[in-house]
Symmetry: C2
DNA sequence: GCTTGACCTCAACTTAAGTTTAGGTTTCAG
DNA sequence: CTGAAACCTAAACTTAAGTTGAGGTCAAGC
């Protein structure tokens, strides 16, 4: 019992409507190699319907902060270029989750540092780890430091 | 008992060293109006030492995701353009914190959606709220939807 | 048979946040 | 006196992710 594979082609306009991505951006993605199309006899692009999913994944990846270059790299690693399977999705999804976790951690640290700093109020250029991330305290010996400005 | 105000001038090279921001970027910031300098007799820029703090704040703001334009706007709202006081910092700091909170919330939502989605595995273009943020389900009536691809 | 809408290509433009390059001074150390 | 270090300006270049514009084709509807 083989499922029939029914590509069912859609135009760039329809792809744009279905994904919320502008036609010009879709052309752009195609130039970058993120999606592929066939042409009909009038030279119009025809996309297999499942490209909708690829475009949607691209959008999710962008929202998590990946560049199109990164995304192209990820997509190229997939077993099958246009058809995104469940395994593909599990792979991508967990990779993207780690990236998101990394980002969230970073921002949270920054926010906590900010909380400390506002509470502390020292605004010291010498001591403040927020204002002074490339800290080189210790060079000058320990102990209280003057806030020389 | 008045404190003497001792500006103590520093060169662009020193400012660059102290902040970790390249000289060309500092020139750029000056063109954009984010920092100001005086010139000495050889036409070299001289910055009052507390500009270091302004540049540090610019970096923090950038790390929290503000554009230089935003930052310029914030800095212009300060009581005093170059000298950043404790009150200034409290003002800015809490504004930036909210922005950070907003971002963290967004990313967290995206990550949780992703967790759901990977667990669910449906990858349905019709139903998935991750793949389909501009959802218009309901248009077609409720009930189970075919994953037509 | 003409207009309209959807599509095509290619090239130039846009914004942000700088960097790079080219050419020109000044100042200090040897 | 000579050369290097630090500085100056102005303009062009860079990258990302597209957008905009000009000019052209094609099929459908009136």
């Amino acid at each position: 019992m083989q499922k029939k594979s029914v590509p069912e082609w859609i135009s760039v306009g329809v792809l744009s409507e279905r994904t919320g991505v502008s036609v010009s951006a879709l052309h752009f993605y195609e130039r970058k190699g993120l999606i592929k199309s066939q042409r009909n006899k009038s030279n119009h692009r025809q996309y297999p319907k499942h490209v909708i999913r690829v475009v949607s994944l691209i959008q999710v990846a962008q929202r998590t902060g990946f560049s199109l270059e990164d995304i192209l790299f990820e997509l190229e690693g997939l077993s099958n270029r246009t058809r995104v399977t469940l395994e593909d999705w599990e792979q991508l999804g967990s990779r993207w989750q780690s990236e998101l976790d990394r980002k969230i951690t970073q921002l949270t640290e920054l926010r906590d540092m900010m909380t400390d700093c506002i509470g502390c109020g020292c605004l010291s250029l010498e001591r403040c780890r927020l204002l002074n991330p490339y800290d080189e305290l210790g060079k000058k010996g320990a102990g209280p430091q003057l806030m020389t400005e």
